[in-house]
Symmetry: C2
Subunit: 190 residues, 2 copies
């Protein structure tokens, strides 16, 4: 017999695969239940309905993704490269966040230890600006948004050529993301 | 009586609203037919099934979006601002392209006049590099991808704060996209 916790985590794993591939509307609860070796009734006992299960997972994936790429005030450009790497490593997380945005599912998670991931990023940027490591003219939120835009540029591109598993191409693009970010944050005249 | 062309264009307009909001899986053909004042039978006579209708529209929206923001070799940084503006003006086009990517619907459209939008962008970047207006070290495809990533950074952000209709904020973000792009393409030492 599986424990309640084991069952719950197997349902979540099956749900991630299903939702990442098909989205909220396209996912099938019976396929999730089958892949978790659970009945639909037991699944619904843990998660009220399909949308609740999607919300739980999307919020969890978004929090995991953002926690895995902290911005350090002394390595702001490197952050764009870390985001690029993580999008390659965790494509299902990126897909979950994108489906959630299109479905208007809000992912703003409750702050951890009193500070949300977003406000930690703003704090790191502000500190880097005070230390003269980042152009102080950038509004911190806009800069964080641009750094994610740079790191995720290939993941968000509709072009077939943006999809690759070729190590040389991946290394070149990661370096391009870091180079672009380091130019964007540069202090002093250009 | 509506002409066949009128009916077709009313179906497409109703379909864009429906698909942009709900995606391929979430869209309802009966709602599209009702909003176009057409029967489902007439709709299916024009478009074989829901997926065909989605493919036609997504390819059309993608081509319209890309044709509306040509890259000029003498104003490459401005391109990021044009992309930012267009994402504000045509949010449904951006949503259609994003749904299509998640649904693995390929949007690579046949070349117009022998040249696809993508290869026109590559040509413009290559020319700007030859003219000394853009850092020649960038791989042209990577640079085009980065410029889209910068222009669409707010549109792709999951943060609630990225959504705004406040003219001052929009103007500041557009300027931020152009400034970021101009730094990324800059020639010479930083």
């Amino acid at each position: 017999m599986r424990s309640t916790d084991e069952l719950r985590s197997e349902i979540l794993a099956a749900a991630r695969t299903e939702f990442a591939q098909f989205g909220l509307a396209g996912a099938r609860i019976d396929r999730i239940a089958r892949n978790a070796n659970a009945s639909k009734e037991r699944l619904y006992a843990h998660f009220t309905d399909k949308e609740t299960l999607f919300r739980v997972l999307a919020a969890q994936d978004s929090a995991e993704f953002h926690n895995a790429v902290p911005i350090r005030s002394n390595a702001v450009a490197e952050f764009a490269g870390d985001v690029y790497d993580l999008a390659i490593r965790w494509p299902e997380h990126v897909r979950m966040m994108t489906w959630a945005r299109l479905e208007n599912v809000t992912l703003d998670t409750p702050p951890q230890n009193g500070t949300s991931g977003a406000s930690k990023a703003i704090t790191a940027i502000t500190q880097a600006q005070q230390e003269g490591l980042v152009d102080p003219d950038w509004a911190p939120f806009d800069l964080v948004t641009l750094l994610f835009g740079i790191g995720l540029a290939w993941a968000h591109s509709p072009a077939q050529a943006a999809i690759t598993d070729e190590p040389t191409t991946i290394a070149r693009r990661r370096a391009a993301a870091v180079k672009a970010a380091s130019r964007v944050i540069a202090t002093g005249p250009l």
